[in-house]
Symmetry: C2
Subunit: 400 residues, 2 copies
């Protein structure tokens, strides 16, 4: 199973390059391929849409966006056939992808790989349009990066042990190399580590793809379409394999912070608030609630910036109902140290806070999990923060 991302098929020349790569792999054995939309197609389509509708219906957004992968799949299949490789482009529904009913963020419910298997049995290459599926006769899409999930789900349905995900980066790094010049590629990451890295803005893989790979015990290999190299393997990692406590430093600028002050210290508000947000399809990220003081507490949470307008509306209403105040800020970012070995090593949190303090960076909120420590900071400090934490844990010099 190969999956090629948008930058890998961004132009006819690149599609031909991918076709040559697929041809070489196919010569070694049967192969299915999943593709994203070409380059900026998805953004271009959304830009067109915004010019005709301010608040477009999700059903029509899905119908519109699904055209992107339809185009790239057809082009790649044609390019393969031109090069002597029998190939068939398949839309999501043709490849057997059934999803739930949630437009724009649908979840795959079932993959019936019969048609893909029939094409493989003919010795041909199925080229599947990623990111899309069908629910009750309606086209759905899986959300940003959803083609990764398409690839992993199809690989699992076909019983593949590995799914190679090709993009314009050659793996997962200890930090974003554009921010940290001595960042290193990691040879192996556990599923949990990858999820935290992905979640925190290392946009190599969609998180749901990693979750699904973990559930099916399938190895993902993140590789470059253009460079050679082994890439990064995301798989089950024996704890003893993981020498380092901190494996990488992730950061995320696409967040906004919402603060609700003066929440009466009675049960039920948090439930009502976050249920209302979920009802509006807002994914809430970090949540921090302060200890109550004078019978009131403050709740701070973060959301993706594109969800902020809806969030402010819903949270403002919920806050007003209990006499609390909601406010929002966009000038924030999250920096996180991630590593499966972290929980067993003392002093990691202290080292991280120390590195940020030494760099003069104020921490606005902290959350931790078993494999990460995240600090909410000002957006302007984010690059300095990533470099400071990366250096503090010696990630630039150590072995992967």
């Amino acid at each position: 199973m190969h999956k090629y991302g948008g930058s890998s098929v961004a132009s006819p020349e690149r599609i031909i390059h991918v076709a040559e790569r697929v041809k070489a792999a196919w010569a070694q054995g049967p192969l299915a391929v999943v593709v994203s939309a070409m380059g900026d197609t998805t953004d271009d389509l959304l830009a067109l849409l915004r010019q005709v509708a301010h608040d477009p219906p999700a059903r029509e957004v899905d119908l519109l966006l699904a055209a992107g992968e339809q185009i790239s799949a057809a082009l790649l299949a044609a390019a393969l056939q031109e090069r002597g490789v029998p190939a068939r482009a398949l839309l999501g529904w043709q490849a057997g992808f059934a999803t739930d009913a949630v437009h724009r963020k649908a979840r795959i419910r079932d993959v019936d790989p019969a048609r893909v298997q029939a094409i493989l049995a003919e010795g041909a290459v199925p080229v599947v349009a990623g990111f899309q599926g069908l629910h009750a006769g309606e086209i759905t899409t899986l959300g940003r990066g959803g083609s990764d999930t398409t690839a992993v789900a199809l690989a699992a349905a076909l019983g593949c042990a590995r799914c190679e995900i090709y993009s314009d980066v050659d793996g997962v790094y200890t930090a974003d190399p554009r921010v940290v010049p001595d960042a290193r590629r990691l040879a192996v990451l556990s599923y949990e580590e990858m999820m935290e890295m992905a979640h925190m803005g290392a946009q190599v893989l969609q998180i749901r793809a990693v979750e699904l790979a973990e559930a099916r015990r399938l190895t993902i290999v993140a590789r470059s379409t253009f460079a050679g190299g082994p890439g990064t393997e995301i798989r089950e990692v024996d704890p003893t394999e993981s020498e380092m406590s901190v494996r990488g430093v992730a950061h995320d600028r696409n967040i906004a912070k919402v603060t609700i002050r003066g929440v009466p210290d009675r049960p039920g508000f948090a439930h009502r608030l976050f249920a209302a947000l979920a009802g509006h399809s807002v994914n809430v990220d970090t949540i921090v609630q302060s200890a109550p003081r004078d019978g009131c507490s403050d709740i701070v949470f973060t959301v993706a910036r594109e969800d902020l307008p809806r969030t402010v509306e819903v949270a403002g209403q919920a806050a007003a109902e209990v006499g609390a105040d909601a406010s929002a800020e966009q000038d924030v970012a999250m920096v996180s140290a991630v590593g499966a070995g972290m929980v067993t090593r003392p002093g990691v949190a202290a080292a991280m806070f120390g590195a940020l303090a030494e760099a003069g960076i104020n921490i606005e909120a902290i959350t931790t999990s078993e494999i990460k420590i995240s600090c909410l900071i000002r957006e302007r400090d984010v690059e300095a923060a990533v470099r400071a934490v990366h250096a503090a844990f010696g990630l630039g010099q150590a072995k992967a």
Copy 2:
């Protein structure tokens, strides 16, 4: 039923304009809409495809091109909802279009309008992607201009008496106004006249749409999206309504001429030749066979220019088998006088040949039907020929 062509939805501004038009019509009563792909989308997609595959597989071409109408339908439905008009975009298969298996030139086999009717029953506007259908789980397309046929077939399935087809021209003219400055818009044309006009290059409507409208006794109105005006009605015309013998002058530059010389005067060759061409999906247009001389005859026929390479191959082989010679020319064009009343008026053919002779234009072949006379001429003469014939029949001054 409204159908909007590619130029009518070529930009976000134009889509908004169409949405306003649809909104006004919907306020008067239930309305279904069919759209073509935006502007040059189809050509742009084909240009992309040519960069990755010299001889692309028809199945993948259809998958690729169907994305064009998918995009425009989603955008128009979103634009309508933004303007308070409930609307649902539907792909060809969602709107119930089943076709035969011939990719790129599929014919509609059946329209199941249940879903479109359900949307209409809700008071919403179904916005159907034209040009596309489904055969055995495969996306098919109906050929150039196929969205017209989509619209007429859907109008018929819904029991509509009229189908309004909007484009950037305000009707059918006595000749191409770019060639003949005093050409007039025709208020009414019979189906047969429209077919001959369309066939001969008046690219207002796809011929199959007109055939289908005739079979279902449905009136097509060809109108402008941008100008007001009544447009041209294409409907059954009582012969007494038709005062003029010649209604219009059509021309077609998209033809190539194939000549087969020295065909032995025995039965079977014409059948073998044209069956072979049909087997390669080449539509042969005019066919002229000369009277035999010295046991041999010549066959001249025309095809669309894009079919010429295949035609030359097939015809060359067939000719070689009987010791004949095939040759081809692209520098030709057809000019035709069209009119249902023509067959009952003497002298029309003589008047047309006289007009061409007076303009110094050589006629290479002549074919006639009950409602048209066509002359094959050199392409360089085509504009002068159209003007000469238009003037000879007094079309510029007469009433429509």
